[in-house]
Each structure stands twice: as C-alpha cells, then as structure tokens.
C-alpha cells in the first residue's frame, strides 16, 4: 500500500510538471530587428511578461526572414508537413486568406477584447476581409502610406514649411524649387516609392469605393487614377524622382537615406519601419511634415489616407497542441500593456483603441491621426497572393523602363486585378 501511494504521488508530480512546463514557439519576421526602435526589444519584454504571468510557460521566439517571399515559403513548408510554430506572424488580407485553412478561428478566444479593435482591423483580419466571417489573426499594428517632408529643406528652397504641397500644381512647383536649390525633391527606392504612391492615389481617387477595384465595380481607367499615373511619369521625366533611387532598395537604403537628410520628400509608411517616429527622431520632431496624397483637380475625394486596418498580425496554427495558450499569447501581445509596449518602442500604430497612445511629443503623429479619420482601404492588401509582386513589376515596366504607355499601364493593372 505504501509503495502504491508513493507511486501515485510520483506519477501525479510528474504529470503536474509535464502539464505546467509548456513551450510556445512563435515565428516572426520582425524579431530580427535589433536596432534602436526595432521590434525585438519590445517583443522580448512582452515574452518575459507573458512568461511571468503564466508560470511554467516558455516562449521560444524565432526570428524568420524579413523577406515576405522567403517567410511565407517557410510557412508553406510547415503547412506541407503539418507541423511548425504554435503562433506565427502574418500580413492580414490576401496572405491570411491564402493560409486560412491552417489558421485557428480566434473568435471563441477573443470575445472579451474584440470590441477594443477598430472595425477596419477586425474586418481585415477576418476570412476574406468580411465582418462576420471567422477572425483568423489578431492585429499588432495598422498600416498605411503617405508623404513625409523635411521642413528645413522646404525653408531652404523658399517654400512655406508649414504648408504641405497637397495639390498637383503645388507639388510640381515645390519639386522645381527644391531641385533648383540643389535638394533631391523625392528620395526614392525601388520600386516601392512608386508602388506606395499609387496606392495612396488609389485611395484618394476612389475614396470609400476603393474596394470596388477588387470586386470589379471600379476600374483603373478612371481619369483621375490615370492622371496620377501620368503624374509619376512626369516626376521621373523632370528628375524630381531621383533616377539614382530607381535601382536602390527601398528597404532599408531609401528609408535610411531620407532619415539622414538625403532628400526633401519621401513616400513612407505609418507603422513598422520608415514611419513617423523613425523620421521624427532622426530629423527632429518639429522638422517633419506629412500629407496623405496629392490631390488632382478633377478628383472627387481629397486628402484621403490610404490605410490597412491591420498591418501585421498574429495567428494560431491548427497543428498547435496548445491552441488555448497560443491564443492567450496572441491576445496578450496585441492588447493592453503588450500592445502599448510594442507601439511605444517602435512607433507602430496600434489598431487597439484601448492601447493607442497620445505621443504628444510628435506633432506629425497628430497630423496622421487627423488624416486617419478619412482612412480608405489599401486595395492591394485585399488582393490575391503575389499581387504586390506583380504590381511592382508593372510599376517597373511602366515608369522605370518606359515601355508601357499610361493606357497600357492601367490596362495591365486592370488585367492583373481581374485575374
């Protein structure tokens, strides 16, 4: 009997230890950012906080390639073998739809926090970007693009640093003055400067109807969008978009160049990298201006901010043996102190309304938050997998190579999105 009781105690202790000692593996394409303002430090802090809140749990956070193609190739390999991380980072939208059948529906786990997120972010994180469909990932950031400018250079060129050149005429005049003053008007990187600019202009052209580009109710041969495409060609032909930049990687060479004073204007991001915080910290918080798009005279909409309700997000993999714990981790880092820690350290904008900070020391953030009230969708993020790669090649062909007329370019865009 004594032996039996001892054996029972031993088995029970072993079982408790086994259950308590759990490891969650997290795959992440941002974890390799070890620079100041990079993602790794706040992620490590959040992992430590989660481990503290959940004794016996260890987070094995694995840095995966930052290149999207390589990263999703690794996810694809994991899916093929039906084994891999418990939690993985994704770009919401088409990417998540492509992997929907290996992602756990998060709805049962997020009932208490779902209301904290903006409707746009939940929509973007739901299957096929439709509210009411299962939520597949939970967003860490929201994303968007816009035009940052260096006020000191504007002043040096005789421009009003507090007046953003928002109309096409004002923009061209500003570029000419900057060029005359020996300042690079638009710091450029291949091919995202043009790609992001056109995504800004798509939101500004189609306004609340921009998603119609995907369902076919809107077309790219809209005269205002064509005008914005022709406008890019003009910027290249006149040398306002620096030709040197057309073979320079956008990530991170062009971003670093603008941040170090290598030009007057830059089509940048709102979150992650190349954002308002990075540029404010490098160029001076009061020295950075921002506007969301160039307005054309015939456009119905003005100052529309292109916006992805969610920029990067975490999902729980179906093969995970610890789905409940994995969902708890996702919730932990995207809400409350977890979300605040990440946003404060990186400058990422959180779509979690309970976590969004004021950051009053950054005037440009106030401007961005104002424009976000007129936020419109980024049509590319709701397109199919690989669309961004295709559209970047078309940008190359149209403007860098110059072998597509504006009509051919918009026709190719239309063909691509129809496909």
């Amino acid at each position: 009997m004594k032996k039996f009781i001892l054996g029972l105690v031993f088995v029970s202790v072993f079982a408790v230890v086994t259950v308590a000692a759990q490891t969650l593996t997290v795959w992440d394409f941002k974890y390799s950012e070890v620079n100041a303002g990079g993602s790794q430090a706040p992620m490590k802090a959040n992992d430590a906080a989660f481990e503290k809140a959940n004794p016996g749990v260890t987070i094995n956070h694995v840095a995966q390639p930052t290149d999207s193609t390589q990263y999703y190739q690794i996810i694809q390999s994991a899916a093929t073998s039906n084994a891999g991380p418990d939690v993985a980072m994704f770009h919401p939208g088409g990417r998540v739809d492509g992997f929907a059948d290996i992602l756990v529906d998060l709805d049962p786990y997020i009932k208490d926090v779902k209301g904290q997120f903006t409707q746009a972010s939940i929509e973007m994180c739901s299957l096929n970007e439709k509210l009411g469909n299962p939520v597949k990932v939970l967003p860490l950031t929201m994303q968007g693009f816009g035009i940052y400018y260096n006020k000191a250079y504007f002043k040096k060129a005789g421009l009003d640093p507090n007046k953003a050149p928002k109309t096409a005429a004002e923009f061209l005049a500003a570029c000419e003055k900057l060029k005359a003053a020996g300042i690079v008007p638009i710091t450029t990187g291949q091919t995202y400067t043009i790609d992001f600019f056109l995504r800004c202009e798509a939101a500004n052209t189609y306004g609340p109807n921009v998603a119609g580009l995907v369902d076919g109710s809107q077309r790219f041969d809209n005269p205002v969008f064509k005008e914005s495409a022709a406008f890019v060609k003009t910027l290249i032909d006149k040398g306002y978009i620096e030709k040197d930049g057309l073979s320079r990687p956008y990530f991170m060479d062009a971003i670093d160049k603008f941040a170090s004073g290598g030009g007057a204007m830059f089509v940048g991001l709102l979150s992650d990298v190349g954002n308002w915080k990075v540029f404010s910290d490098k160029l001076g918080a009061d020295n950075l201006g921002y506007f969301p798009a160039v307005n054309f005279a015939d456009g119905t909409y003005k100052d529309q901010q292109v916006m992805q309700g969610a920029g990067i997000a975490y999902g729980v993999m179906k093969w995970s043996k610890n789905q409940k714990l994995a969902a708890a981790y996702v919730k932990f880092v995207t809400t409350g102190e977890g979300a605040k820690t990440y946003s404060a350290a990186t400058g990422a904008l959180s779509p979690n309304t309970a976590a969004a900070g004021g950051a009053t020391i950054y005037p440009v953030l106030k401007a961005i938050q104002g424009y976000l009230k007129n936020g419109e969708k980024d049509y590319i993020a709701i397109g199919y997998n690989g669309y961004e790669d295709d559209s970047n090649r078309l940008c190359d062909r149209a403007f860098v190579i110059g072998d597509l007329s504006i009509d051919d370019f918009v026709a190719a865009y239309q063909k691509l999105i129809t496909k």
Partner: protein, 292 residues
C-alpha cells in the same frame, strides 16, 4: 558466355553496392520528377488538398505573357555561351603560353567561383546600382551614370555577361588548362618548327586536340543557364526591372513561392525539365562518342 544474364554472371555483389545509390536516385531524382509531372495537372497551393484540373495549367501557361517572356530571356542568356567559350579558351591559351605570373592570374580569376553566386549577386548589385561604386567612378569621369540595373537591355546583358562569361571563367580556365596540359608537347614543338604562331597553334593544335572538352563545356554552360541562374538573378535583379531578367527558372520560383500556385509552377517546371532532358541526352551522346 556473353549471353548469360548479368545477375548470373556477376553475382549479387554489384547490385548490393549499387542499391544505396539507386535508392537515393529514386528518392531524390525519379520521385520528384514524377510528382512534378503529376502536380502539373492539379491546382495546389503547396499544402492541403489537390484539385485535378488536367491540362488547364498548360493552357494557361501557353497564353501567359510572363511564360513567353521567361523563355525569351532564357534564350538570350544562351546566346552568351559562344562568347563565354571563346573568351575562356583565349585566356587559357594565353596562360598556357606561360606568361609571367600566370598562376596568380589563374587564382585571381578563380576567386568568383569560390565566393559563389549569392555573394557575387549581392556584390554586383551594390557595384552596379545607380548610386553604386562603379557608377560613382563613371560619374566622376564622364559626368553621367549608366543605368545598368534599371535599363532592361543593360540589365539582361549584365546578367548574361556576368553569369555566363565572367563567373564561369575561373572554372573554365582550370578545366581547359588541364585539358591543354594533356596534349602531347611534341605536337606543339612540331607546330613551332613549322613556324605556327599563337593563333594558328590555338586553332590548329589546341582546340582540335581538346574538342571533346570544349563540347562538354558547352553542354555544361547550357545546364548552368537553364537551371542554375536563380540565386544570382534573385540577389542581383530579382527578375527586374519589370520582367527583363525574368527567366524560366526564376518564373518557376515566383509562381510557386510568391503566388503559391504550385500546380501551375509545376507545368513551367515540366518545360524546364524537357529542356534539361534534351541537354542531358546531348551530353550522354557526347560521352558515348568520346568512349568510342
């Protein structure tokens, strides 16, 4: 005696020794090829269920502008093979003449082979950029820049020249030097006595004597162009600008791992397989002829 069956004649030993190799061949060559052909008849993301669509991928491929662009670009690369062969042979001939410091030159020219395609792709992407080292020098000398990586005709020719000619040069030198050193020295002495100069010796003695090596080199270059350019293109141009350096091999990667159309990508791979099979048949025939 000759009519006896192999197993009866040789016993089990050769087959036992060959078995591991045959298993590896079946696992890593035959199985993937068969699976690729089967996959080309399906719609598949690389995981999850397959959907049989039979010839639909091939029909899409034939109508796909990207596919024909990739074929055109690959064909353009092939045009660099004669130049590569001539340049490599000429430099080898100069080195064989025993010019001063030839071992140093040979070592220098072999360095790119040691570094590999990925590293060389990154190095040249930095060198050839508009704000890269080479253009900084050109700008200082001429006041303007050459847009190597953003002008399509320059980009495809830069890839062709660097990969097919420059990066193969080191290996070619070693290969042709070894072949030329195998030529009987008395033939060269006879040519010298007959008053043959450098060019005549090259075309009448050296090249005819290493004909099989040259033919093998050409076959090797074809395989390199069709099936080994990916890493260099990925690190140098990523198939751009636009589709100007988008080759068949690169297209297979994009379809499978950027767009997750693994079934469609397999159809492209079947075409690449057919090209490589034709090259391999040529290579086998060449080796047979040499044996004879």
């Amino acid at each position: 005696m000759h009519n006896r069956r192999g197993f009866e004649r040789d016993g089990a030993a050769p087959y036992v020794f060959l078995a591991p190799l045959l298993v590896l061949l079946a696992a890593f060559m035959i199985y993937p090829v068969v699976m690729n052909i089967i996959t080309s008849f399906t719609e598949w993301k690389g995981y999850g269920p397959w959907k049989w669509i039979w010839l639909a991928n091939y029909k899409t491929m034939i109508a796909d502008e990207e596919f024909w662009t990739s074929i055109k670009n690959t064909a353009l690369m092939v045009l660099y093979i004669p130049l590569s062969t001539i340049v490599t042979l000429l430099i080898t001939a100069f080195l064989r003449e025993g010019i001063r410091g030839w071992k140093v030159y040979r070592a220098i020219l072999y360095i790119p082979n040691l570094l590999g395609y990925v590293l060389m792709g990154v190095i040249f992407s930095i060198y050839l950029r508009d704000d890269g080292v080479l253009n900084m020098a050109i700008k200082r000398l001429t006041g303007s820049t050459i847009h190597f990586l953003i002008t399509p005709v320059l980009a495809i020719n830069a890839v062709g020249f660097l990969l097919v000619v420059f990066l193969h040069l080191g290996f070619g030198l070693i290969y042709f030097l070894a072949a030329m050193n195998g030529i009987d020295k008395s033939i060269y002495e006879a040519a010298l006595i007959d008053g043959a100069g450098f060019w005549r010796t090259l075309f009448k003695v050296s090249i005819p004597s290493i004909r099989f090596s040259v033919e093998f080199w050409v076959v090797f270059s074809f395989i390199e162009v069709f099936a080994r350019m990916f890493s260099f293109i990925h690190t140098l141009t990523q198939g751009g600008p636009g589709y100007s350096t988008f080759t068949l091999e690169y297209g297979i990667f994009i379809q499978a791992f950027s767009k997750f159309k693994v079934g469609y990508s397999s159809a492209w791979s079947v075409v690449l397989f057919l090209f490589c099979a034709m090259i391999s048949i040529a290579q086998i025939r060449l080796m047979k002829r040499r044996d004879e």
